[in-house]
Amino acid sequence: MLKGVQIAGQLVFDPLRRLLDRGFGHRLNPLNFLGALTIYFFWIVLVSGIWLFIFFKTSVAGAYESVEYLTHEQWYLGGVMRSLHRYASDAAIITLALHMIKEFLYDRHRGNRWFSWVTGVPLLWLVIPLGITGYWLVWDQLAWYVALTSAELLDWLPIFSESMARNFLSDEVLSDRFFTLMAFLHLIGLPLFLVFGIWLHVLRINGPRINPPRALMAGSLIAMTVLSVAYPALSQGEVDMTTVPSSLGLDWYYLLVYPLMKHWSPGWVWGLLTGTSLLLFVAPWMPAQRNRASAIVDLDNCNGCARCADDCPFGAITMMERSDGKAYETEAVVDPALCMSCGICTGSCPTATPFRRHSVLSPGIDSPDMTAAALREKLLEDSDKLEGTHRIIVFSCRDHAQSARLKSRLDDAQTMTVAIICAGQLPPPFIDFALSRDLADGVVLAGCPGGDCQYRLGADWTALRVARQRDPHLRKRVESNRVALGWQEPWSACGDVSGIVAALRESLPVGTGGTAGIPSSRRNPWRVPVTAFVYVAFAVMVGWLSVWPRFQLIDEGNAMISLSFSYAGQRIRECRQLTQEELNRLAPNMRKPQDCPRERLPIRVVLSSNGDTLYEDIKRPTGLWKDGSANIYKRLTVAGRSQKLFIGMNESGQSPEFDFVLEQEVDLAPGEHLVVEFDDIQKSFVFKQD
């Protein structure tokens, strides 16, 4: 079933990538740099965050005011920084989500690549709370809602004995300590773990792309800055806990699940979150990838030159001390737990040369799945059938979905498709071999579309090897107008592989030598419109979902009642006065006059409005020995009007009688917030309004 999801997803993703390829070109296609872009956005967040921190006051009274100062008085710098801080963190969520979706859709999360996927999942649990604590620090009405809802979520967990949400119901109880705690989490705690997590995430891969190309950095920074100036991030009103904001602009990138709390119990929300995370954690094994044979080192042909170790995209090859007593220092050793069997190592091996008519072709490192010798055989056998003067051999990546269809579509009297594992698997001497031994007149390396290599670096390494910028170089005698790399300019403009084959055939020099007839790289008319559209669409999407659609905390015309107190119920039986005789039997320092049981009874609470019960519950005492207070915390929505409110509590559980009651006509206007508290000193309930 997941396979179906992947195929369906690719149908959406492929056209998007093609569009972006048109505009940005494959070297700058943002979809090839999603992970790096996410990290880059975090850099923007970090830099702008430092500016905000300089002016931020970590206190109940100072937080809102200092952020307001930044936003309005210092709009040209502080305000822009604040907006950048928000929008870059929103943008990071978009690129992060796309990054995950893409790796999943193209099946790059399974097999020996599971480690990068699995270490990516906990990063979500760091990034999202980072955003949430950030919204909390601003201490506007949205922050109040975030604080209240977060506390309600956390209260559900059996960690705190007291309700944390209670701190956010009225001004008197809210303390500056909370801001110190949030500032610590937001500025130090979570970022520290995030940096460590990112390090772990890229640990196993070779040469991870940490930075996107400069052009993309500049483009996205400009897009975010323009958005920040045109549509600055604003606070949503000072907190007034006696009223409920009618509606809030919610940042859906970070607070997506919060609105669920309006109808769901916190348990369900936690269930959703942990369920999704678990699903993500096990995704690489749904189903597990059939492990192909790892690369094999042939020590007779390995002199320890380390090219394969340099080129392996998954860091699966290490150079270790020589084990066979030969006069070499090191040898390549493959870790089967990391090897993705892509064959890029064979492509890098200097001994993988097909120019061997009489001795066996056995490179120092080879893929048992498709050996260099077998490739050579196939090449020699099949090319025999080609006819004419415009024969073209297409090497196509076996694992890319396209390659299955390529053979039937392309092969004819003068075209032949050879499936290889990855473009990077083809040692450059094979291109030289095919052309110099007159097996063909032109060679096309199809590769993954857009150069977005299934095995990360195969397309890059191939392009560099062909351009003689990375070992092993393609020999100089190979005429460049006889070779086409499907993902590279100018060939990428030819559409699909059959277009590239046709274009190469068209441009093949007649005889030897001759000048290149490669389609000239004329100005790309798509560049400006597509890039402009993508940047604008991206900025609009970032700005839009960061405040819209608005969320209604309580429905129109309603008011909110919070029930919040703790009360120690009756002990399970009465205390008993010890007799003198009993006391005498005790050690002198333990002579308590009364014998009291520790355990308490549950309390029963009923809240009703105009006789209709709004809330009724029996709460058990807290504590291991059931000797603590029972906690009542409940947020309710009622019609906003004048009503007779009744609260009753029975301190010994079941009995229908109430030990404490309060009945009062209250005028509850729509949007008003009333808190029902229990005054421990007066031993009575209070309805607190403004």
Binding site: T351, H358, G364, R477
Partner: protein, 134 residues
């Protein structure tokens, strides 16, 4: 007497590279022996192909050591390696096309092809690396 001879003065002090130099000298001498014997072209061709594979990986190894030692003339040396590979392929092609004239070319240039590189580029490398490695 063999055509090329190994001298301990050639040593770079890197056992693997020295070992391969010796092997390559042996292989080139072998081709000459075959040519003297007027052996069948297949044997010579097969030797050349082995030399090509061996020298390609030898250069790769030498380049690794040069990079690790931060050898200052790396780029020039590397370019020369690439040229030598191009030249060897040319000689091989010529021999395959026409064994008679190809044999003449080989006789004239094969020793120089490797010998000159050895005497110039590798000697410079020796000066730079040899001492440090004893």
């Amino acid at each position: 007497m063999p055509l090329l001879q190994w001298k301990s003065a050639y040593s770079l002090g890197i056992p693997s590279v020295d070992h391969e130099h010796r092997e390559l000298i042996g292989m080139i001498n072998e081709v000459y022996d075959h040519m003297e014997d007027a052996a069948d072209p297949v044997a010579i061709e097969s030797c050349l192909e082995d030399i090509y594979a061996s020298i390609a990986s030898h250069f790769a190894l030498e380049e690794r050591h040069m990079r690790e030692a931060r050898y200052t003339e790396y780029d020039a040396h590397k370019d020369e390696h690439e040229n030598l590979l191009d030249q060897l392929l040319e000689m091989m092609d010529e021999f395959a096309d026409d064994p008679q004239s190809g044999r003449e070319t080989l006789r004239k240039s094969l020793a120089d092809w490797f010998g000159i590189h050895f005497a110039t580029f590798d000697a410079r490398l020796h000066e730079s690396l040899g001492d440090h490695h004893g």
